[in-house]
Symmetry: C2
Subunit: 328 residues, 2 copies
């Protein structure tokens, strides 16, 4: 009869000689007479039955899907984040609906449509769009970006990380340091990296400078900044803290071109904890984000039954890792 269409509960019921409702109960693990249960399970095995998630979703108004809105998966930090979030979701029998913004606000708008069409049970977003409209009635969690007290934000301890970087550089012998950053102007969580760094420098009485560029500023501005701080072939700083590992990496390329040795002449610490190929050495000395914990926190928060009782900021501890661009 049904050659190409997958078997349904009705097929199973017929095959097992029981009622449709009984099959449903067995599938959903509800109490059912042992004899019936056996018959049903046998029929399921015989037919190779798999429940239809569309039917279930339609009926229960629950898709077991969470949308993840993130710039891309090309940047290795995002790649690992996506990976751990998907694993955390899968553990709970949830699926992930991946939405790449590519830093494009129009794309973000389209996605909130798509997300509503798919009736996702929750949204996890890592976005820099200052005026993203959050769809009502869907549990929403952000990463590294504070919206309001009603929207939980999961983030690494950025302030503590900046602090840690400053102390680390001092402990490693640096006498004059600088913080370099490129990023959106709005005060999001990552901007606390600077604040922590500055606070620690002030506390230690360590001379420092700050070079913060707006998003979109060409990288050559950094080159100019670095070049301007060269005096007779000697660089004004012996320690740098970059807002991200990527920036640290780029800065180091410039420093080398300028004849500076890393870490002998100038030590550099980044932020994120990127490893080569995801699991080899750290590409630079860095403050590493607890990606797996962040992923786990996002998922458990967005799926928590009572989102209102959840803290509005979940701050996870960071750690320092040696990556060849500091002494040690």
């Amino acid at each position: 009869m049904n050659e190409k269409t997958a078997p349904t509960m009705a097929d199973v019921a017929r095959e097992a000689g029981v009622a449709l409702g009984t099959v449903s109960k067995v599938v959903n693990g509800q109490a059912v007479g042992k004899e019936y249960k056996d018959k049903v399970e046998e029929a399921i095995a015989r037919l190779g039955y798999q429940y239809n998630s569309s039917g279930r979703a339609l009926r229960t108004d629950k898709t077991n899907t969470v949308a993840l809105i993130i710039p891309n998966t090309v940047n290795p930090y995002f790649g690992t984040l996506v990976h751990h979030i998907n694993m955390a979701l899968e553990k709970r029998d949830y699926k992930m609906l991946l939405c790449f913004t590519e830093y494009d606000q129009n794309r973000e708008m389209e996605y909130i449509q798509m997300v509503r069409q798919n009736r996702v049970d929750g949204i996890i977003a890592l976005t820099y769009n200052p005026d993203l409209t959050i769809p009502e009635g869907i549990p929403f969690v952000t990463i590294d970006r504070f919206f309001s007290v009603s929207v939980p934000c999961v983030a690494a301890d950025n302030f503590g990380g900046g602090w840690m970087a400053a102390y680390k550089l001092r402990d490693l012998g640096c006498k004059k340091v600088a913080f370099l950053r490129i990023g959106s102007a709005l005060t999001n969580e990552p901007s606390k990296r600077k604040e922590g760094f500055v606070a620690a420098c002030v506390e230690m009485g360590l001379p420092f400078e700050v070079m913060a560029l707006e998003d979109g500023t060409p990288f050559s501005e950094f080159e100019r900044f670095l070049a301007e701080h060269m005096y007779d072939g000697k660089f004004a700083f012996d320690g740098l803290f970059a807002g991200t590992d990527m920036l640290a990496w780029q800065i180091i390329q410039v420093l080398k071109k300028m004849g500076q040795r890393v870490p002998q002449d100038v030590q550099v610490i980044g932020f994120d904890g990127i490893r080569m190929f995801g699991d080899l050495e750290y590409i630079v000395s860095t403050i590493v984000q607890p990606v797996q914990e962040i992923a786990e926190a996002c998922v458990s928060t967005v799926l928590s039954k009572h989102l209102s009782t959840v803290p509005s900021l979940i701050c996870l501890p960071v750690s320092y890792a040696y990556g060849g661009t500091t002494r040690e």
Copy 2:
């Protein structure tokens, strides 16, 4: 009445004062009287209606979803692949169901269940599992892995890439070269990299050796191989071709530890085309895979109406890119 539940077509129909079927037609872009169409679109806007994809899927038996089975998204090559595949799917209004195998065969089995539950319209798989059971009746496309003539395989021109690497090394002055590889024993597409390399070496009369390790062999085997080919501080090869960029990178670390300078003493070419942070410099000189074209080919193939008329092997051209580990 309906406070928290999303508006349905019936709501729109009532609001617009038309019949349910008319709304459906408007939503699906079918011909409808202009007057009606306007009324419906107005009502849709007023209510903020978005179609329910579960309902549609249930009715049409089409989920507009394609499963992507891939080891992870932590390795940057996989990360870019996932990215481009999702973009190619999105362009066609398809969603992606991401399945990370983590190189675990049990996980793969679970996924084929999940994939059937979700009634995906197609599957794209990058897997090394030799006896993966392909679910019947679902369009299936593999990447870099030949199953049978009935399963289309999309791959870079691995043979040509190996060939190209050999010629490149010769042109750059190498006198004795070697191919290094670690990977699954089964003859998949990537193993053609060796064949192309060997064929070119033979053709050119260029002395060469091959060091191919089975999956799971500890990396230290390579170190041993390299160490064994050191004669009085001089390395036996002046050119190496590694099966992947990752292996090339690891090999280079070892070479440096052994006091060899790259590229002055020994030049190294990898395979894949990994860039730092996805879009900066290539991390090694490499044969780059056309990732975007591969993604596009996978998607258009898996969604093609007549899968039977599709070629069973789609081979995409590679190119050479300088990445600092060769002269030039």
